[in-house]
Each structure stands twice: as structure tokens, then as C-alpha cells.
């Protein structure tokens, strides 16, 4: 305790990640943070102070190989830490030369704060020192610590739990920002924690601030609660479920989006299964799906959510422009597609657009998307036309091909000779204009031919 503010520079080519990580760090009183795009590192004469630490987004294949030396030229001797994605030790991880520590994708916000502090204190991260978790103690020290807070500090803590940014907290409580900061410092000391996030986590553990889970959800749901903005504003706010496989990114997005007008994060999910379950549980207005959401990607999750009986809009977010994924997201029923390059402002605008009933297509991609959809429609028409030439028996054969049966299995299933089955199969391939049974099955599945026509003669 009693340590000074750490100045952290986040280096990432991705505005959304850079901005959200910066906001996450700034939400904790012990950090001052700023974001630099990779190309900005050497460009500007340093307008700000020299950082204590540089946190580098190393989970990028497009990072330059000399990123570490470039950072060292800009801030000689600075301590560099690389941040990688979960399981990103493969091709996406380009090690940052000279980095003293690697922080993994499963890291959460509390771990990050502790890790950065310890790296700064010790010059490197010692594995035995993290992740730091408060050990269970006798009695109820956390509850006792909360009980020592003044009434005002308790109010501040409740708002911290709700995830409000400092300016909003000050406004809600009718305090100046400086007075609010003093209250926050006092409660951090009394709770014996290092950061606001740690304080909020402790508060949740002792039951302060309502039901467990992101309390911004509770704030959004309370018609007259202590949430930010007026009741009318909150009613209009888009309630968002954030689904991303990286704990730190989820938290960073929650902090950053909650500070945006008209958006409130009500739940988080780490994978597809959890995203579908949370979508059913909290019924968000908008589901934000990372395109890389494990295990099968955001488009797969989108299809599952849209096939459920839910009135929710789905936004797939990708780090890079990807025409194929955009097309797949639209075909999966997605209502919008956003790119990390748009930053927090772009993302929140897309969320509000979806919440207002509009679609969201990245600038410059609408024409391409329309052309691809028309092309796909023509391919589907051709496939349907060809399928309509199949006899009833040939359609049965195709259905069994889709199930993976060979000629002998098909013959047994339809009580015909293998020779007859093979003849029918050859006719199917010929009429569909394909060269293999695999291709025939793929066409049938891709355009839903079996479901669409079986039963029709």
C-alpha cells in the first residue's frame, strides 16, 4: 500500500483493444494509462511523461519483428510486458524482443493490476508471485473491513460495484471528482486492496451491491436505482452481453462500453455455450460476439443464438476486415458486423444502431456484401433447379449420401442391389453437375436441399 501511480503505455495496433485496456487501467486509481498504435511509437515527440511500464499486445501476427527495439528507442530502458491471447503461443504470437514478462489470455483484471505492480517492483514477474488471490482467512475479515467504511464510502463502493466511471459516480453522489477520489483512496486503504476492481470484487464477495454478476445489469434493470443517467436514459440503453474468450478483454470492454452513452453491459460469456446460456438468462438487447469466440467462432455462436426463441440482436466483432466472415455472419442471421479498428466509439455506435433496429455493416463493405449475397442466391437457385431434376429415388439416395453411406449401405437401406445404388448415385452426381459424392453431399447441405424437398416428388 501507499505506492504511487504507475504510468502505463498500452501498445497495440488495434484501437478497440488499446482503448479498452487503457480505460480498464484508468478505472483503477493506481494507474495512469495511454494507448499508442504501433505506427505512433516513433512518430511523435513525447507529449506525455515517460511510462513506468509498456504493455504490448503481442497476440498480433502483424506486429513488426523489431517492435521491442522500437519501443526501447522511444523510451530507453522501459520495462516491457507482452500480453498474449489464451493459447496464442502459436503463429499469432510474435514475441516482443526484450519483454520481461508474458501475461496470458486467461488473465483477469485483478491479476493484471497485481502483475503490473509486481513487475514494476521486482523488474520481472516471478511465477510464484502470481496470480495473487486473497487467501481465505479466519472469521470474516472482508466483511469487517466493509463494516468499517463510512456511509459515504459505502455508497462509493456500491457505485464501484456497478462499474460506473469516476465522473458519473461524482455526479450521482453530488461530489467533486477530487472529493470522490479521496473517498476512493480511503476505502481502498480500509479494505486493504490496491485497486477499484479489487474493491468491487471484495464488495461482491460480501454481498454488497446486490446480486452477484455484473452489477451494471442490476443498475440497468432498476427503474429508480443508483445507476447512471436518468431512468429514461437507462430504459433506452442497449443491454449488452459481451462474449469473448479472453477474460481481460471482456472486462476491458465492459469498463469501456459502460462509460459510453446508451450502452450497458449486463453479462459476459467466455465461450459459445456460455453465450447461448447467458442470452437465454438475461435476454440482452444486443449480443456482442468476438469472431474468434471459442470453440467454433462467433458466427457459429450467432447461428445458435438466432435459432433460439430470443428477441435479441447479434453483432459479430472481428479484428480484421473479413468478407467471408461478414457473409457468413449475415447468413447466420447476424444483425451486424463490426471491426476492432473502429475503436470503442465505433463499437458503441454499432451497438446503438442495432438496438435502434438498424443493421450495421462496416463502411465500404455494403456493395461487396450485396454482390456476394446475390451471387449466393444465384448459386442456390441453380442448385435447386438441378435438384428438381432428380427422381424421388435419386433424392433418397442423395439424402443417404449426406448421412455418409456408401453404395452397399445405401443398397441395404433401400433394399436394392449395390449395382442399382451405384447407378442411382452416378445419376445424382451427373444431374447435380458435381464430381464426387462428397461434393454432392456438400451442395445438398449448403443449400438445405434435403430439408427443402424431401417428401416432394
Amino acid at each position: 500500500m501507499g505506492v504511487g501511480t504507475l504510468c502505463v503505455r498500452v501498445v497495440s495496433p488495434c484501437p478497440l483493444l488499446g482503448e479498452s485496456l487503457t480505460r480498464l487501467l484508468e478505472a483503477q486509481s493506481e494507474f495512469e494509462a495511454a494507448w499508442d498504435a504501433v505506427e505512433d511509437i516513433e512518430r511523435e515527440a513525447d507529449a506525455g511523461s515517460r511510462p513506468d511500464l509498456v504493455l504490448v499486445d503481442a497476440g498480433r501476427h502483424d506486429n513488426p519483428p523489431d517492435l521491442g527495439p522500437r519501443i526501447q528507442r522511444r523510451w530507453p530502458g522501459v520495462v516491457m510486458i507482452e500480453l498474449v491471447r489464451a493459447g496464442a503461443r502459436g503463429e499469432r504470437h510474435r514475441p516482443v524482443q526484450g519483454a520481461v514478462a508474458t501475461l496470458g489470455g486467461t488473465l483477469d483484471a485483478d491479476d493484471l493490476a497485481v502483475s503490473l505492480r509486481r513487475i514494476h517492483e521486482h523488474g520481472r514477474l516471478r511465477p510464484t508471485s502470481v496470480p495473487r488471490r486473497r487467501a481465505p482467512e479466519e472469521d470474516d475479515p472482508e466483511g469487517s473491513a466493509v463494516a468499517r467504511l463510512t456511509e459515504r464510502e459505502t455508497e462509493v463502493l456500491r457505485l464501484l460495484v456497478a462499474g460506473h466511471p469516476p465522473a458519473e459516480m461524482a455526479r450521482v453522489l453530488g461530489l467533486s471528482v477530487n472529493t470522490l477520489r479521496a473517498h476512493v483512496q480511503n476505502l481502498l486503504v480500509k479494505l486493504q486492496v490496491h485497486s477499484r476492481l479489487e474493491a468491487a470484487a471484495l464488495a461482491r464477495r460480501v454481498g454488497l451491491g446486490g446480486a452477484p454478476g455484473p452489477s451494471a445489469a442490476a443498475a440497468a434493470d432498476r427503474p429508480d436505482g443508483d445507476g447512471r443517467g436518468t431512468a429514461a436514459t437507462r430504459e433506452r440503453a442497449a443491454r449488452v452481453l459481451v462474449a469473448d474468450g479472453r477474460a481481460l478483454v471482456r472486462t476491458a470492454l465492459r469498463v469501456a462500453l459502460d462509460a459510453e452513452d446508451g450502452v450497458v453491459v449486463v453479462a459476459e460469456a467466455a465461450d459459445t455455450e456460455e453465450a447461448v446460456a447467458e442470452a437465454h438468462r438475461v435476454r440482452p438487447d444486443v449480443v456482442l460476439l468476438d469472431a474468434q469466440l471459442p470453440p467454433g467462432g462467433g458466427v457459429e455462436a450467432c447461428a445458435l443464438i438466432k435459432s433460439a426463441d430470443l428477441v435479441t440482436r447479434v453483432l459479430v466483432v472481428s479484428e480484421h476486415p473479413d468478407e467471408e466472415r461478414l457473409l457468413a455472419a449475415v447468413e447466420a442471421g447476424g444483425d451486424g458486423y463490426s471491426e476492432w479498428s473502429g475503436g470503442i466509439a465505433g463499437l458503441s455506435a454499432d451497438i446503438r444502431r442495432l438496438h435502434a433496429g438498424e443493421a450495421s455493416i462496416p463502411p465500404g463493405m455494403l456493395g461487396l456484401l450485396l454482390r456476394r449475397l446475390i451471387q449466393r442466391g444465384r448459386e442456390a437457385d441453380r442448385a435447386v433447379d438441378r435438384f428438381s431434376r432428380l427422381s424421388r429415388r435419386e433424392r433418397e439416395i442423395l439424402a443417404l449420401m449426406v448421412e455418409g453411406m456408401d453404395n452397399h449401405s445405401i443398397a441395404r437401406a433401400l433394399v436394392i442391389s449395390p449395382h442399382t445404388a451405384r447407378t442411382h448415385a452416378q445419376n445424382v452426381l451427373s444431374k447435380l453437375g458435381v464430381h464426387s459424392r462428397v461434393e454432392a453431399a456438400a451442395v445438398a447441405v449448403e443449400f438445405g436441399l434435403i430439408e427443402r424437398f424431401m417428401g416432394a416428388s
Binding site: 449475415v330 447468413e331 444483425d335 438498424e358 443493421a359 455493416i361 463502411p363 465500404g364 455494403l366 456493395g367 456484401l369 450485396l370 454482390r371 449475397l373 446475390i374 442466391g377 444465384r378
Partner: protein, 104 residues
């Protein structure tokens, strides 16, 4: 055949003398004489689809999917855009026939 049906079967074709260029956040249609028309992205996308082969019905289907709008709204939006383009001579109508064949 109703007016709407005829519209949906039309295959508008953009004027060969015009080219589309990006300008700031929007687009402009220009010919040798200079800029002729400023456009937003949606109108520019529709103009590019006017190749004399694509039917308005195909455009409607794609807009419904991409922009998540009702078919009736998409038909009305496209009617407004295509009629405006045609009235300026930026596209010509090809009803019920692909490029290269006679219109009806």
C-alpha cells in the same frame, strides 16, 4: 403483371460514361465533364449492382438479408433509389431481359 412485378423483373444498367469514385465518407458519380452526383454508400452500392443482368428482385433479396429489413421496405427503398438514378439518366431500364437482349 403488376407495376411492382415489372419493377422487380427489371435489370437496370448503369450508364457507361459514368464512373464511381470515393470522396471523403461518400461517393460521387462523375464523367468527363466532372462530378455529376454525390451519393451515400447505399446508393453507390445499388448503382454498382446495376449491371444489366441483376434483377431488382435479386437486389431486394440481398438488401433484406444484409440490412435486416422487410421485403416491402426494401422494395420501396430500391424503387426510390433506382427511379432517382434513372430520372437523371445514370441508369437505363432493362425490363425482364438480360443485358444484350431486347427489353420488353
Amino acid at each position: 403483371m403488376t407495376k411492382v412485378d415489372r419493377f422487380l423483373e427489371a435489370r437496370p444498367r448503369r450508364a457507361a460514361s459514368l464512373r464511381l469514385a470515393r470522396r471523403g465518407h461518400g461517393f460521387v458519380l462523375a464523367d468527363e465533364g466532372g462530378d455529376r452526383c454525390e451519393m451515400n454508400e447505399t446508393a453507390a452500392a445499388v448503382w454498382e449492382l446495376c449491371d444489366g443482368e441483376t434483377t431488382v428482385a435479386e437486389m431486394v433479396g440481398a438488401v433484406c438479408l444484409a440490412c435486416n429489413v422487410d421485403r416491402a421496405d426494401a422494395v420501396e427503398d430500391l424503387r426510390r433509389v433506382v427511379v432517382a438514378l434513372a430520372s437523371e439518366g445514370f441508369v437505363e431500364w432493362r425490363v425482364g431481359a438480360a443485358a444484350g437482349s431486347d427489353g420488353r
